[in-house]
Symmetry: C2
Subunit: 127 residues, 2 copies
């Protein structure tokens, strides 16, 4: 089993069993959640290229952990399942996210992939 | 130091040092991200009540870990910083999230707090 040693300083960890909610909640992180709507969401080649781009993007060293996903369809009106890709990066601080914005790997991702998307929404949140 | 034992089965963990991005990425999770726009975002009493509601909500046992946050303001056009609260719950499966929807704690949260918000957007994503 791998240990969340890298997260020790930031509280990005949980405990097993009947832990209190306050103990299992992620704390002291900057959550950077980006939703991408591709121009051609059903184009396999575009998807492959974009996924390769995301896999490169998450190697930015400032990212503590990340999640790359696709929408789960839902009939519920409050659920927006229209996006093509969901990408979350967790940072240890607001400052780290600022540095990330102009990191060469991030800039390369934008250069390589921006022609693939037609819409992006970013939500940044801190606890 | 607390260990992410509860996440061992789901890959919700990372490794320290020069780990590959593929090793630090969160895998096998259902990400349920909800953004709330309160009717009175600057009303301290409403905020306190809503925050208390969220603290109760994250005690639903099916939630592996969670994050409660507020927006980080940004001048960038792609960033939507207009929401009042961000709430993320991580589930181990799509089925767990379905059960969560009708869990008594979730229903109580909606009953207690729905008068406080004017808009909700839910994004569900899986890797």
């Amino acid at each position: 089993m791998k240990i969340a040693a890298g997260m020790a300083a930031t509280g990005f960890m949980t405990v097993s069993g009947q832990a209190k909610a306050s103990e299992t909640a992620i704390k002291n992180v900057f959550v950077h959640h980006v939703f991408f709507w591709l121009k051609e969401p059903n184009n396999t080649e575009a998807r492959t290229q974009f996924e390769k781009g995301l896999q490169g993007l998450i190697t930015v060293p400032l990212i503590q952990t990340s999640h790359i996903g696709t929408p789960v369809e839902s009939p519920r009106e409050v659920v927006d399942d229209s996006f093509t890709y969901s990408y979350i990066a967790f940072f240890g601080s607001k400052e780290d996210q600022v540095i990330y914005q102009t990191h060469p790997i991030h800039l390369k991702f934008i250069e390589d992939c921006q022609h693939l998307w037609e819409k992006v929404i970013v939500y940044d949140a801190m606890d």
